[in-house]
Each structure stands twice: as C-alpha cells, then as structure tokens.
C-alpha cells in the first residue's frame, strides 16, 4: 500500500521506541512519563483534550508491554507496574488483537446515508429500487430506516444527484472474516474465535484503537537478564526493511545481544522441497488442486471459515517451523525469536513448541533505535547458513507458487494461481474452488495483498521491499529437490 505513514501507526512506532528506551534506561521507573512526553500540554489535542489523548496512549503503552487493555483490573495501575509485571512473567503473552474501548470512536453503524444533496425528486429511484423498503420520504427528502437497511448500496447506485454517501466502518470493512463488530454501545469488539490475526483492523483504524500484545519486552529481558542464547530468525521479508546489508543487520543484532541470526529463507527452502513433493503426490492421487499453507492467517481462515477447503491445504509446515526446528536441534536450550512482518505468526508460534517469541520488524526497529544502533554502520557479520533463490522469493506474491513450480519441473503439469490478498472476494473464490474446482491446480494464498512485504509489521514501503527481496533472491543459488539443508 502506498499510504504515507499516518499519525495512528507512527504513534505506535513512537510508543514502542519509548518503551524499549524506558526498559533499557531504568527498567520502567519513569514509564509513566511516556504519555505525557508524547502529548505535552502545549500540543494540539487530537481527541477532545490532551488528557484523553494521554489516557489512550497509556492503553497503547499497555499493549506495547504485552498486556491486553480489555483485561485491565484497576485503572490506577501505573505503567511502571505494568512494566514490572511484564518483566516478571515467564512465558510470552498470548496473541490477542483487541480494541481500546475509550479510543474507539464508535463509528456510525449505518453504511449508507442520504445527504442534503437529495432534491426529493419525483422519480424517487432510491425508494423504488430499495429491496427492503427501507427508504421513505420525510419532509421532502429521502430517508433510510437503519433497522431495515441491509447495506446493499442500490440507492447509492441509482441516485441521479449522487446524494447517497457510503460511510464505512473502517475496521469492519477491512476484516475479511467478520470477526469485528459493535456492542450495544457501538464500540467495536474482536471475536477471538473468528479472528485470524491478520492485523487489517489494526492497520485500518483511523483512531489507532486496535492494539495487539507485543512480546518486545520479553525478548529484551531474555537478552539482557538471562544467560540464555537468544537466536533471531529473520523472515525472508527482511530484505529492504533496514537500509544496510543483511550482514550489517547481523552485526546490529549481535551488538544488541542476540547470540545468533538465521534466515527463515533457509526454512523456506525446506518448505519448497516438501511442498513440491507433496504436490506431485497429491496430483498423482487425482486431487483437483492444492493450496499453500505458509501464510498463518490464511491457514487459520481455512480452518475456521472455509472448512470445505481444509482437505486441499498443503500439510507441509511453514518456513518458520523448519527454521525453528533447525535452531532447536542445534541449540536445544536457546530462545528462538521469529522476526517478521506478520501478526498471525504470533498465533502460529503458540502451537509451535520450537518458537519462543515473535517480533515484528517494527518492534525490532524500535529496539535498535532505543539502543542507538544504526544498522549500516555495524560490522558486517556472516550468516551461518545459506538460503537459496526459491526460499528468498517467498515474501512477494507469486514467490511461493513459483518456488514450488520450479521444483515440480516436468514431474507434473503445474498450473499456478496467485490468490493475492485474503479479501472477501478471494474467500468466495476459494470456496468456489473447494466446491467445484477451477482452472488451476496450485493456489498460492497470501493474506496480505502483495505478499508478506505488505504485512502489518513492516517498516519499508512494500514496493521498495519487493524490489529488495527480488534483488537478494537473484543473488542466490538455485535450489534443487536434492539440495541438502541441515
């Protein structure tokens, strides 16, 4: 998406940096100053007053410390205390997207509204075309009865004066699976049973009311306060996220205190080999098609929302899984931290015994900024294992399917299709495939449009990141089905 960083998500970055700094500096002794510093008295408030701005910031800080604002027990608990609680916990906070209720503006529910532009015309196409008889003429002007309206948009299409406007609820519109909805007060809530952790609501809310629980503090504590080896597993989308070379970044991470760094592209190579073999096997069994399984948001969507698709989802594990397996085999007692663009990976990590924590690129960036580390000035250090072209291609849409196809070769007539973005339309397409099949036999499904380079945890622009991913892929060696990865 080519949207310049906006206030809501820029503030998230600032909060993460402040929290990281607060931990490194004095273990949260002064953390309660963060909302005040970010919203000083002389500043124009963006809500009703600076005090509400600060209250919202406190909740956003809570989430940054890994707490869920919905689980607040006592409003007087200070950020310092929340920080200490974060340091005292033994396991990673559970993945959860939630809404800060005081920040949620309770956007109006009615999706279509008739404005003053309405002339109260004689033709009344809005009223006549409404399938629910929701429109009546009140005081010479059309009016929509919100209880009857089903948001079909017919009136919007037919008004000759363009007097009907569509007022979206951004989070609800962004959620592809209907997991976010209003309570009796008009505030949004996320249904954890339905949520696939894609993060679209978080990225789309103009009030910055949607937050997720960060594991950043937990990772910093493991690095700074334990003797354990903490290994960073960098998702293939890392290319282009931090100016400087990948080897500079390895140097930067070691300077911060990570003991080792591995590319998840190595695991992606393994995924490619296994998925290609699985594809050939399934096709020879006469299955109509197979879909990828590496996108955790899509994987969960298939489990929960498109059950008819389940038999067609690949059983091959994800690049994160294979990478963590390699890491834990080598150093069983290390702390394995996946660093990526993805929020759904946190959910995946919960059932993967080898992955201890998940960070976003943004969180890693906040840690480096707080520690005063500039990546491209760091020593260039080598990576232990070498990934191949195919594994490096994963984060750009078409990359996974292309990688699998390259290893299937002439073993089977593979016809790939990119399902680029888990939109409501694409979910319909997938349902159609599950019920009736389609033209192609290998579907690559990416929840984020454009692939992982457009993930909610990214720093760089997706377009630039995609170029960097491509350039890095082309500098590698090709993978073959026989390449041994260990």
């Amino acid at each position: 998406m080519l949207i310049p960083k906006n206030n809501a998500n820029l503030m998230r970055t600032k909060i993460l940096i402040r929290l990281a700094e607060s931990y490194l500096h004095d273990k949260f002794a002064n953390a309660d100053r963060i909302p005040l510093e970010l919203r000083p008295k002389e500043m124009q408030p963006s809500r009703c007053c600076i005090y509400k701005d600060r209250a919202v910031l406190k909740y956003r800080c809570m989430a940054g410390l890994g707490h869920c604002p919905e689980e607040e027990q006592d409003e007087l608990t200070s950020l310092r205390e929340y920080g200490q609680q974060a340091l005292a916990r033994k396991t990673a906070p559970k993945n959860k997207l939630s809404v800060i209720d005081i920040a949620c503006s309770a956007c109006v529910k009615s999706q279509y509204v008739i404005t003053d532009v309405c002339r109260g015309c004689f033709a009344q196409p809005c009223r006549l075309n409404c399938p629910k008889e929701a429109i009546s003429i009140v005081k010479g002007r059309a009016h929509i009865d919100p209880d009857k309206c089903v948001n079909c948009g017919k009136c919007f299409e037919v008004c000759p004066y363009h007097s009907v406007v569509k007022i979206p609820v951004p989070c609800e519109e962004a959620c592809p699976v209907g997991a976010i909805s209003k309570d009796e007060f008009g505030k949004e809530h996320i249904d954890a049973e339905k949520c696939i952790s894609c993060g679209r609501c978080l990225a789309s809310c103009p009030f910055g009311a949607v937050v997720e629980r960060s594991q950043m503090i937990d990772v910093m504590k493991e690095i700074k306060e334990t003797n354990k080896k903490v290994v960073a597993m960098l998702a293939p989308a890392i290319s282009g996220q931090f100016p400087g070379s990948l080897n500079n970044l390895v140097g930067a991470l070691k300077k911060f205190g990570f003991s080792d760094v591995i590319e998840v592209a190595v695991g992606a190579d393994i995924t490619t080999q296994k998925e290609a073999a699985e594809f050939v096997e399934r096709m020879e069994e006469g299955k109509p098609f197979m879909t990828t399984s590496c996108c955790p948001a899509y994987f969960r969507a298939a489990q929960v929302h498109i059950p008819e698709l389940k038999p067609f989802v690949s059983d091959t594990k994800t690049p994160m899984y294979y990478t963590a397996e390699l890491v834990k085999k080598e150093t069983p007692d290390c702390v394995a931290v996946f660093v990526g663009p993805c929020l759904a990976k946190r959910a995946e990590a919960e059932w993967d015994p080898n992955v201890d924590y998940v960070l976003t690129f943004e969180e890693l960036g906040a840690m480096l900024v707080a520690a005063g580390i500039n990546v491209d000035e760091c020593e260039e250090l080598p990576l232990g294992r070498v990934s191949h072209i195919q594994g490096r291609q994963f984060p750009v849409t078409g990359g996974v399917a292309g990688a699998v196809a390259s290893l299937v070769g002439d073993k089977f007539d593979i016809r790939t299709e990119k399902v680029d973005g888990l939109t409501k339309e694409n979910i319909k397409l997938l349902k159609r495939y599950a019920n009736k099949g389609g033209d192609n036999n290998m579907l690559e499904v990416m929840c984020c449009e454009g692939g992982c380079v457009s993930g909610p945890g990214c720093i760089a622009l997706s377009k630039k990141a995609a170029r960097a991913v491509d350039a890095y892929a082309q500098s590698g060696e090709p993978l073959t089905p026989e390449t041994k990865i260990s």
């Binding site: 960083k5 100016p243 400087g244 900024v369 622009l461």
Partner: protein, 88 residues
C-alpha cells in the same frame, strides 16, 4: 525549470523506522506538479539524531535543497518542495 529540487531522505535506522521509509513513496506517487522536478537521494545517517537535544525524537530528517525538515512527513516534504519550486 532547469534545476531539480534535491530531496535527501535520511535512511539511518532511526529515521527510517520513524517514518522516512514512508516518505520514500515520493519515488512512486509524488503529486503530478512536482513529480518531474525532484531528485530523490537516500542519505546515510547524517548524525542529526546524535545531537542530544534532537535525538531520534525529531526525526525523520529530510533535506529539501539545503533546508532541513524535522519530524518530516510526506505532506511536510511535499509542501517544502513546492515552496522551493516557487523560489526558483
């Protein structure tokens, strides 16, 4: 208009994380009136963030010709570019 406005975007880690990455969208979707009149340069850390008074907090830093834009945003930079174009 012979001279292009030089836009130097700091891509040091702190500026990049703080939003310089997003200002790079100027490369792809700059407004039509300025698109052909800018030259975008990725600048390595200019050490402005190491200034104790400024620190990262005032980043990202962008130079539009010789004028420094602090806490730069896409809008701020576009505004400054237009200002510079008017001058020339």
């Amino acid at each position: 208009m012979a001279n292009k406005v030089k836009v130097r975007i700091c891509v040091g880690t702190s500026c990049f994380v703080m939003g310089a990455a997003q200002i790079q969208s100027l490369e792809f979707n700059a407004p039509a009136d300025i698109a052909d009149h800018i030259e975008i340069v990725e600048e390595r850390c200019m050490s402005l963030c190491k200034d104790i008074k400024r620190k990262y907090r005032n980043g990202p830093f962008v130079f539009v010709n010789d004028e420094l834009v602090e806490e730069a945003t896409y809008e701020k930079v576009v505004g400054k570019i237009r200002e510079q174009l008017k001058k020339s």
